[in-house]
Every structure is written in C-alpha cells, then in structure tokens.
C-alpha cells in the first residue's frame, strides 16, 4: 500500500522527474509520428512500385518467347492452385518510340508491353492510373471522345477540349487545309509555268513562222508574257490567303500542330494512287482559274464546324469532289473505308507513361507550366525487333490514346502499352500454321495474403532453369534494392529515435539517483518501521513505471494528435515560415500519407515504459540496499 501511495505522491510532488520524463514523451511522440508518416509513405510507394508489376512473373529472356502460353498457364494453375487470383499474358520488348515535337523528331527508348485488354487490369493496378476517366471504367485501346475533364479544368493551355478525338480532328483538318493550300500554290506555279512555256512555244512558233516569212523584226520575248506571269502568280489576291493560312498555322496565338510533314506522309494523301497518265494541264487550268476562290471559302466552310465530321457523308463528298485534289479524278474511286482518314481513323492504340510526354516549361509569367510533347490523338511511331534468330526492326504507326501515371517515375518514363494481339502479329509471334501465339511473360496475381516468395519458389521448382530459360520473380525481387533501402532507412530511423528514448532513460536514471539520495532518510524510516527491501525497491520501480506511463501516455496522445492533424500542422508551418513543407507536386500525394499501426504504437509505448522502468532499477536497487541505520544517520 505504502508503495503505491508513495509512488503516487512522489509522482505528484517531484516535478523534476516529470521534466525528465518530457524527453520520453517527446521521444515517443516523435517515434509515432515518424513511423506513421514513414509507413504511410512506404505503403504509398509500395503500392506504386507494385502498381503495374504483377505479384509473380514468369518471364522469357529479352526478345525471347514463351511458346504455348496456354500450356504454361495450365501448369502454373496446377502448381499454385487456389493461391491464384488471376493471370495474364504479356509481350514485353524494348522499343524505340518516335514522335514529333513542333516539327522536330523526338526518339526515346521505351519498354513496350503488349497487354490483354481484359485480364491485364485484373492482375495489376493498371486501370486506376489511366488519365482518361472513361478508360478507367471501360478499358480499350481506342481513342476516346471524352474523359479529360481534369485537364480542361486545370486550364492546361494546350488542352481546351475534353475530347482526344476532337483534338485529332482539329489537328488533321488544319494540316489538310494547309496541305491543300500548298498544293494550290504549287499548281498555280505549274500552271503559270505551263502557260509560259505554251506562250514561249507559241512565240517560238510564230517567230519560226515569221522567220520563215522573212520578218526579222518580231520580238523574241514579248513583254506581255511577263505581265501575264506576274498577274497569275504574284497577284496579291492569290498569294494572300496562303500567307494567311500559314500564319494561322504557325502563329504564336494558335496551338501549334505537330509535324505537318510527317503526318502528311502518314495521312491519306500518301495512299492516293499516282495517275498513270500525265495530267492535262490545260483542263486543270480551266478548272483552277474558276475554282481557286471557291476552294478557299468552301474549304473553310467544310472544315470549321466540327459536327460535319461526325457525318460520314460530308467527308465522302469532300473526298469525291475535292476541287483541290489534283489527282482525285484520275484515280479509280476507291471504297471510302479503304482510306485512312486521320480525322476519322486511328492506328493501333498506344498508351504511354505520362513522364514520357510531360515536360515542364517556364511560361511568360515565369511560372512553371506543363508541356505535353505528345498527347492523346497524336500519332507516334514505334520501332522494335521481331522475334527469332534473325530479328529485323519493324516500324509501326500508333495513335496515342491515353497516358497512364502511376507516379513512379521509373515506370511512367519507360512503359508503353499496346494491344497484345497486335503486337504478337507484328512481331511475328503467331505461328502461321497453327495460329498459336507466343508471349514473353506470364503475370500472376495471387490471392490476398498469399506468400509470394513461396509461390515463386514453387514455380522455380516447376520450371527449373536447366530446362526452361525463364526468369521467375516477384515484384519485390524486381524492386529489391529500393525496398531494402527503404527498409534499412526505416530501421535506422527507428534505432536513432529509440536512442532518444534511451537518452531520456539516462535522464531518468540520473534523476532517480538524485531522488533516492534525497529520500535516503525516508527509506531509513520505512525500513525502521519494518518495510522490507523489496518494498522499498518497488516504491522506486513503481515510481519509474508511473513516470514511464505518464510520459508514454502523453507521448502517445501527442504523437497520435500530431499524426491526425499533420496536414493542418504542415499548413500552419508553411504559413509561419513561408516554406512549403509538403509539396504535392514532388511527392504526388495531395496529403501527407500516414498509417498508424496499433502494434507499432503499442511496441513504442511498451518500449518507453520498459526503458523508464529499467532506468529506475539501479536507483531502486540502491535504495533497497541502503542500511537503515546509515540511512537514518544521513544528513
């Protein structure tokens, strides 16, 4: 009884000891805060690292293949049994990605993944990272009519529409318009040249005739011819629209379309068969002289309203009677479907990591701005080798249909996704006889709580490296260096913080020795009154425990409150110091992530109490050993 009473009274009256316990409080609070924030970060980082990596992966070597994936998946199902949540086959190979940025070519290496529309999303967290809101719900590799509200609302300067298709139509109609004008101008030159030549020929004929007739005074080069040429080619009313259209094309106030040359080559113009006869320039001339102004206004009329392009007929009419397509009338009219019309059609869809396209630029106001080198609706080219011994490079046009952003820069800057079947076809992974397609990786998602390493080991036993040239690994194996670094960091941090509490423990030790010395006489009295040494000892142990409890309790409360309001605290600190504590742009989190693990809080608390008790053991022992007579005699 006296032990409790005295422990309690000492706690209430010895404020010096309370001061020594503040360090325990602070240590505990710091440990809880740091651990919570760190585990929040680690959790976020892990889920990001894991993101588009499957739990376990059976991978063929680079450029190699796994033949007969059905067989393999069957075996894997047999081996892992109920642990399997889902599986998907992936073709993975390095590739070169090329696209144009304002007419200049940008090429970089990417890791190209051919993924299965349906099963890939069930194995990895792919879908939530897509930028297009519509694709997140319903995934496909087709270009979307909507789904970028976040970019529009963010006021992204290059992105004034919600629709990638809209962007594509506008872009290619502008390109077509410009091309049309260019052709017009070329034709005028051609016409003028033809006319000139014709006149020259006529003149030369006339001169020949005159020569023949003996008239030597006839002029060889008539003034009238030059005048005619000038009026045709350089008259302001024919030149001016071209200049105007070029101004709109590259003017600073307009978003600059990318790579007119390339897209021209990729566009339908290329597909128009060349005439097998020379054009009849006289006839063209007759038509042109009437049609130039008309083409100008009609082209604008046709291109400006967007809704025209949703109507197939308009396009077909335009194609058929295009007054400025010099070759149209010479070609046999092809089926409309055969044309690749970039305003209506897309290539194979490709999804790129956001970091491939997104760059920061400094705007006029000096602010950092996002700049997209390429965006959904643009076409890109990928180049990669075929499979097999004699690999040949293949170049393929793709239409960028979306970005994904897992906020793991390593992934976002290197991964590109295309449909599995297309990639298999193009890379020559389909057996022409049987139609069976090989893959390069089988990705497996295991059920929640399944042991990844055990599953990997089982698969390794099933596919021993002697017989199968496969690399079997878990996502953690892939990210081992980073994960172990983070783990190490956390361990060391915990160690250091526990050192703080240990230092606090020495503080308690010192304080307790002082208290024991101060209480020597009281200890003597207690012993004289019959208190056993163990009782005296437990007074001080109890006191230490009480201090530990109070300090730890306060620390836990403080730490948990801090974690609970950490974002608010960060804001306050930001306001006070003017320095941003937590930049969401850097960490990709809108808030500081925290995870409070009850086990961790419990362990920290118990550890701190233990340290406080342990720090009181020595002084308590000393108190217990005090000789009552000496203690009573003590002054």
């Amino acid at each position: 009884m006296y032990k409790l009473l005295l422990s309690w009274r000492y706690l209430r009256t010895r404020f010096i000891a309370l001061a020594s316990i503040i360090s325990v409080t602070l240590g505990v609070a710091t440990l809880i805060v740091v651990n919570s924030v760190m585990s929040g970060f680690v959790f976020e980082m892990k889920s990001r690292l894991h993101g588009i990596l499957s739990d376990v992966e059976v991978a063929a070597p680079l450029l190699g293949q796994i033949h007969n994936p059905e067989y393999h998946t069957r075996i894997i199902r047999d081996v892992l049994g109920d642990d399997i949540e889902s599986m998907t086959c992936v073709v993975r190979n390095p590739a070169l990605l090329t696209f144009d940025v304002n007419g200049r070519q940008w090429t970089q290496q990417v890791m190209l993944l051919g993924i299965d529309d349906e099963s890939f999303g069930s194995v990895t967290d792919f879908h939530p990272y897509l930028q297009n809101t519509h694709k997140r719900e319903q995934f496909s590799f087709s270009l979307e009519e909507q789904g970028y509200p976040q970019w529009v609302s963010a006021g992204c300067p290059d992105w004034t529409t919600d629709s990638a298709w809209d962007y594509r139509r506008r872009k290619f109609s502008k390109i077509r318009e410009a091309e049309t004008r260019r052709l017009e101008q070329e034709k005028l030159y051609d016409l003028a040249a033809a006319e000139y030549l014709e006149q020259q020929a006529a003149k030369s004929r006339a001169w020949d005739a005159a020569q023949a007739a003996g008239d030597t005074q006839a002029p060889r080069n008539g003034e009238a011819v030059n005048a005619n040429y000038n009026s045709n080619v350089q008259s302001p009313d024919t030149r001016q629209p071209i200049a105007a259209s070029q101004a709109t094309f590259i003017g600073p106030e307009q978003p600059v379309p990318r790579a007119p040359e390339k897209h021209m080559s990729a566009s339908g113009f290329q597909h128009v068969p060349l005439p097998d006869q020379a054009p009849d320039f006289a006839a063209i001339h007759a038509q042109e002289t009437a049609g130039v102004e008309a083409a100008d206004s009609s082209a604008t009329l046709r291109f400006a309203p967007t809704h025209h392009f949703n109507d197939g007929k308009t396009t077909r009419e335009f194609r058929k009677f295009d007054p400025v397509d010099p070759y149209a009338k010479y070609s046999p009219e092809p089926a409309v479907e055969d044309f690749f019309d970039p305003e209506k059609d897309q290539y194979t869809g490709i999804i790129l990591g956001l970091a491939i396209a997104k760059r920061k630029t400094i705007g006029e106001d000096g602010e950092l701005k996002d700049f997209y080198m390429v965006r959904p609706g643009d076409d890109v080219q990928i180049m990669f080798p075929t499979v097999g011994g004699s690999a040949k490079p293949i170049s393929e046009n793709c239409t960028l249909v979306d970005f994904y952003s897992s906020n793991m820069h390593e992934y976002d800057s290197s991964f590109a996704f295309v449909p599995l079947k297309e990639l298999q076809k193009i890379r020559g992974m389909v057996d022409p006889l049987t139609g069976d397609a090989s893959v390069s990786t089988i990705q497996i998602k295991l059920k929640e709580g399944a042991d990844l390493d055990a599953a990997r080991d089982k698969l390794m036993a099933q596919f021993p490296p002697e017989s199968y040239p496969y690399d079997i690994h878990t996502w953690q194996d892939t990210q081992r260096p980073l994960l172990s670094a983070v783990h190490m960091e956390l361990t060391i941090l915990n160690l250091l913080l526990f050192m703080i509490i240990a230092v606090a423990g020495f503080g308690i030790l010192a304080t307790f020795f002082m208290i024991v010395v101060e209480k020597t006489k009281d200890i003597g009295v207690l012993k004289a009154l019959g208190a056993p040494s163990s009782g005296v000892m437990s007074i001080f142990l109890g006191y230490g425990m009480a201090l530990g409890l109070v300090g730890t309790g306060a620390g836990v409360v403080l730490g948990l409150l801090f974690v609970r309001y950490i974002n608010e605290i960060a804001e306050v600190v930001q306001v006070v110091t003017g320095q941003e504590v937590f930049d969401p742009e850097i960490y990709y989190f809108s808030e500081i992530p925290t995870i409070v693990s009850p086990t961790m809080v419990l362990l920290v608390g118990l550890g701190a109490i233990l340290i406080a008790v342990m720090a009181s053991v020595l002084p308590a022992l000393r108190a217990a050993r005090l000789h009552p007579v000496e203690a009573l005699r003590y002054e």
Binding site: M1, Y2, L4, L5, L6, R9, Y10, R12, T13, K521, D522, G524, V525, L526, K527, A528, L529, G530, A531, P532, S533, G535, H627, P628, V629, L632
Partner: protein, 272 residues
C-alpha cells in the same frame, strides 16, 4: 527492577512543574485501574548480553560498544544516558534490530532476535517496536494521518489494508487526538512545529500497539517547552497503554524520571 516508577519522589529541577503534572496524571491513571504490584512482578522483556559493536573507518576499527549487558523489565521506563558519541544510538539500534552486533545477543520475549532473518526482524520491528527519532523522520509527502498509518501500510498487504483501513484510521485519529493533534491530521509535516511533528511520530510509534517504545533523544531537537510537551505526551501514553519505554537521552533531568538509568561510558555500562 526494584526501582519502579510510580512512587518516585517529585524532584524539582528544570522541568519540575511538568514532572509534577505528569505524575499527578499518572497517579489518577493508576487509581483508576492498574495495580503497582503487577507491574513490579513484570518479567524481563528485553535483554542484551555482552554486546560488542565496532565501526570500521577505513583501516581503523573503532570499537563503540565493548560488552554491554542490560535487562529491560516489561512496563518499565529505561533511560540510556551517556556523552555524545558514547554509543547510545548504536545500542538502541542494536536493540531495535536495525543493526546486528558483532558479538553478543539481543533477546526479546525470551527469544534471540539479533540473528533472525531480515523478514522476521522487519516483522518484529513493525509489530513489537515503536521507534521515535530525534529528527522525527516523518515522510514529507504524506499527511500527518498517513504518516501515522505508515506502519500499518507496511504491515498489511494492499487488500488487507484496504479492508482494515477504517479500523486503522479510527485508531490513528484516536492516537492523534491523544497527542493533541486531532485538528492537524490533514497537514503535511513541514506545516507543523517540531514538537507537533515529534508527537505525530509518537502516534506513529504507537499505531501497531507495540510492546516497546524505543526513543532516540526525542526531545533533543526541541526547545524546552516543546520537549516538555513531548515528554508529557509520552508519559501519559506510557501509563495509558502500559508501555515499556527505552529512551536515549543526554538530558540528566529526563533520565531522573526513569525507572532505570543505564549510563554508557567507554563502551560499557557503568551504572545501573
């Protein structure tokens, strides 16, 4: 043993008036109940035989007690006197089993107690001995009442203490009232005068109804008036509770009121 207390003549000395009072009080007490012959027949309660004790000061061994023999009769008032440093406190501590003699034995109720286990000695100290010190030695964190209750707290386990708390408290209040401090029970020691503290210490010594009170210069740190009060209290209680008292003092006047005076000189008892 023959020189028993009650019929002692009144001596006029520095504390004369008080002695008078005290003895008149003792007389009324006696006439009310106890009979002197009973007391006279009281057997030896405590005895020390051939006690040696020396302290070590580095290499030097300082002998303090060199063969002390004494007997304490039950119900008697024994004064131990001697010069400062003569070993009075040492002897008292040995009698109270707070320390063990180098040689010799201490008997209490016909039982050797100096070589008992610490646990047993603690129990004897707690139940049979009431200790009073020169510097009161109250626990400063506790109130007067709690201080008086400390021996009971030490004696009982947590739950038995809680069970008996009411009875203990009643007894403690009773004792505090007896020593004239019924109104100061909630105060802390540092709020009281030396005399009041010493009277509280007496109440504490009495709470477990001990057979012997061992007091080490209880008035040594008090002025005359306070010392008188304390002695008066002690005397009254002694009569009331039929206590055996062993008191170390250097006050010759006080010693004169004792049934027996033991004088320590040079580590031995010179007069009985």
């Amino acid at each position: 043993m023959s020189r028993s207390t009650i019929t002692k003549p009144v001596t006029i000395d520095s504390m004369g008036s008080m002695e008078l009072k005290k003895h008149s009080a003792g007389a009324t007490q006696l006439s009310a109940g106890a009979t002197p012959p009973l007391k006279l027949a009281m057997p030896t309660l405590m005895s020390a035989s051939n006690i040696h004790k020396s302290y070590r000061k580095g290499e030097l061994e300082v002998p303090v007690l060199k063969g002390v023999n004494l007997e304490i009769a039950a119900g008697s008032f024994t004064a131990i006197v001697g010069q400062s440093g003569s070993g009075k406190s040492t002897l008292l501590h040995l009698l109270a089993t707070l320390d063990a003699p180098d040689q010799g034995a201490v008997h209490f109720q016909d039982r050797r107690i100096d070589n008992l286990s610490p646990r047993q000695r603690e129990t004897i100290r707690n139940r049979q001995f009431g200790l009073i010190f020169q510097f009161y030695h109250l626990l400063p964190e506790l109130s007067m009442l709690e201080n008086v209750l400390v021996p009971k707290m030490v004696q009982d386990g947590f739950f038995s203490y809680l069970r008996n708390k009411r009875a203990y408290k009643k007894r403690a209040v009773e004792l505090l009232e007896m020593v004239g401090l019924g109104h100061r029970m909630a105060h802390r020691p540092n709020e009281l005068s030396g005399g009041e503290m010493q009277r509280t210490a007496i109440a504490r010594a009495l709470i477990s109804n001990p057979s012997v009170i061992l007091a080490d210069e209880p008035t040594g740190n008090l002025d005359e008036e306070n010392g008188g009060e304390v002695m008066e209290t002690l005397d009254n209680l002694r009569e009331q509770e039929n206590l055996t008292v062993i008191m170390v003092t250097h006050d010759v006047g006080l010693a004169k009121s004792a049934d027996k005076t033991i004088r320590l000189v040079g580590g031995v008892v010179v007069s009985d």
